[in-house]
Subunit: 417 residues, 2 copies
Amino acid sequence: MSLIVHKYGGTSMGSVERIRNVARRVAKWHKAGHQMVVVPSAMSGETNRLLKLANDISARPSTRELDMLASTGEQASVALLAIALQDIGIDAVSYAGWQVPIRTDNAYTKARISSIDDARVRADLDAGRVVVITGFQGVDEQGNITTLGRGGSDTSAVAVAAAMKAEECLIYTDVDGVYTTDPRVVDEARRLSSITFEEMLEMASLGSKVLQIRSVEFAGKYQVKTRVLSSLTDPDIPLETEMASGTLITLDEEGQDMEQAIISGIAFQRDEARIAVAGVPDKPGIAYQILGPVADANIDVDMIIQNRGSNGKTDFTFTVARGDYQRALEILQAEVKDHIGAGSIEGDPKVSKVSVVGVGMRSHVGVASQMFRTLSEEGINIQMISTSEIKISVLMDEKYMELAVRALHKAFGLESA
Amino acid sequence: MSLIVHKYGGTSMGSVERIRNVARRVAKWHKAGHQMVVVPSAMSGETNRLLKLANDISARPSTRELDMLASTGEQASVALLAIALQDIGIDAVSYAGWQVPIRTDNAYTKARISSIDDARVRADLDAGRVVVITGFQGVDEQGNITTLGRGGSDTSAVAVAAAMKAEECLIYTDVDGVYTTDPRVVDEARRLSSITFEEMLEMASLGSKVLQIRSVEFAGKYQVKTRVLSSLTDPDIPLETEMASGTLITLDEEGQDMEQAIISGIAFQRDEARIAVAGVPDKPGIAYQILGPVADANIDVDMIIQNRGSNGKTDFTFTVARGDYQRALEILQAEVKDHIGAGSIEGDPKVSKVSVVGVGMRSHVGVASQMFRTLSEEGINIQMISTSEIKISVLMDEKYMELAVRALHKAFGLESA
């Protein structure tokens, strides 16, 4: 008998029929002898419905009240799932985050979990109950409800699994695992049976949005065995089939798996925009003077490049999401250009980023050159390059993105295991 | 500076625009120097929506989970109202019942408030904040969420007003007060400027459903000055006008008001059904043997009459809501008739109850005879009579009900103050 945590997304909880299916699936695991903790999201559309009400009432709703409001979606979900479990004869009980309690700091709308007291949940499990816990939320030291931010239910599930030393945390979602790249772009995209936490982090932040990034960090930090799998399969498929499906996110233990591919996948971000501030005086503090006002406007900056300058001048280039392009340009023109004495500000709102990701590249030279050669053979011009230990990203004209992804997927042999 | 509690019903909270209006009204009171606690219901339709989901999932959802589910409606409301207040510059904070805390027993779906800790709320009020508290719900000693039953937000508001010794508890609703009878039946029906708690109890239980009965009991027990008034007026009307509107529910201090009318109002219950068990052996325990199985089926019994019998036999007659008539008959036929050796079971599913209510009848003889004479003059046959200290109820054929209400309203001079 082992402790298993299941997490179900909003789509899986989206209707009475789907909630019943979740209950059947959980019941199957419970009957197989596992202690079960289940973390469902709010029913799909519910969180948006609530936040729209708040935004219709006020242009700047307070974050404390937004959390009070949004947390109700998950509370309704846990009650409904407990009812569905009881209806098929499974003893079940639901808890809101504050009842467990799941303690967080008081950074409303993006709180971080500080501790989980599992005594109450453990007592229920020992009494044979399935415990259903709200995702996405907790309680601060003053007893205020907090939420963990969008996708926070993934983090809740992994955190509960970590705190309770669960055997495995299964994240049920509307995709059946993590792929070598987006199957809508490359027909030969292949589901990975496993991926390391670090690769998953790079894949997630680069657009393969299967899991909330923080949940992956959490899973890595506390070494929680986490599996991403489909909630759309028949809930009554054999347990063994289900346990072998999806993608397992594993510890990175180098050398353990000699067959480890060098590259795990090709990630991409379609809607990027590039902004270049040219002829900038090359002196300390210039990056902050350029990006400070941009960050103050809540615009996220992705890739950043500053070339070594000549004649005391340098070029400073960075990328933002395409939707932020116009606003970022305006801020730079109004607040930055004259202030720092830049020569010009120009940009391109139609660029995309393509990345190869893999822990294998740590010990294999030549990944970068292989990547650049492939793109060159396809006649694709590289506008910017940035690298991390397990990732190489290049920026290109949007129109070449799909071609680049397909060519790289083939060049690194990702279509076969 | 005095402490005022406002309660707003689901209709008053039914849309973004209405929530804004509630905020404006509360702001007006706050700016006039009052400390404000506000108890809003769930947005209209929300509680039904949630309970329908539960009932679609299970024919017998557990009451604990129903409370977990239904309580989310009020939690969303308090957050939205706090946001609306903040948007017009009023410092406000919302609390769920468990955060106050409002402690209850653990009778899910019909819990009773045991205590309210006002320290946290008091600190906010002293800091100049408007405090918005969920109605309808509390928390038991084990930290489970409980609800007080339909209309429970009225009780929450009065209980908070009692615990905090508020100057007045204002219940805003979609009617502008308590009337001498239903204005849809009698054109001359008049709004009462005041009514005693006891009269209100009789009026409420008899169909003038303006307030939840338990809230009136609570208001009476703890002597909370409670006013029922309209939420549909312009939120910016002068405070003095608003304070003089609606109906004040007052302590019954006999003799204080010499002008006190003998009768305060005519209440009625349209959809009643009468059931007679005839030829019952006249011996102890017979009432329990007849009504026990009916109560076990959760059927509420209203009027009960047992005539003194002759020849060792008696007739036992009672009324139920019309919707329970068939089921009650079936239970009596199947479980009671032969068991107790009754002669026959018959009934009439189309009867109505009309009552005159007034504390004045305590010291005025002749109310009953005036009532019976009036009905006789209209040719209305009385099927059953029951009386309490401040109420006389008669049962009649449904078709005479409106005629009876109009005739009695006139006979007791209720059209003029």
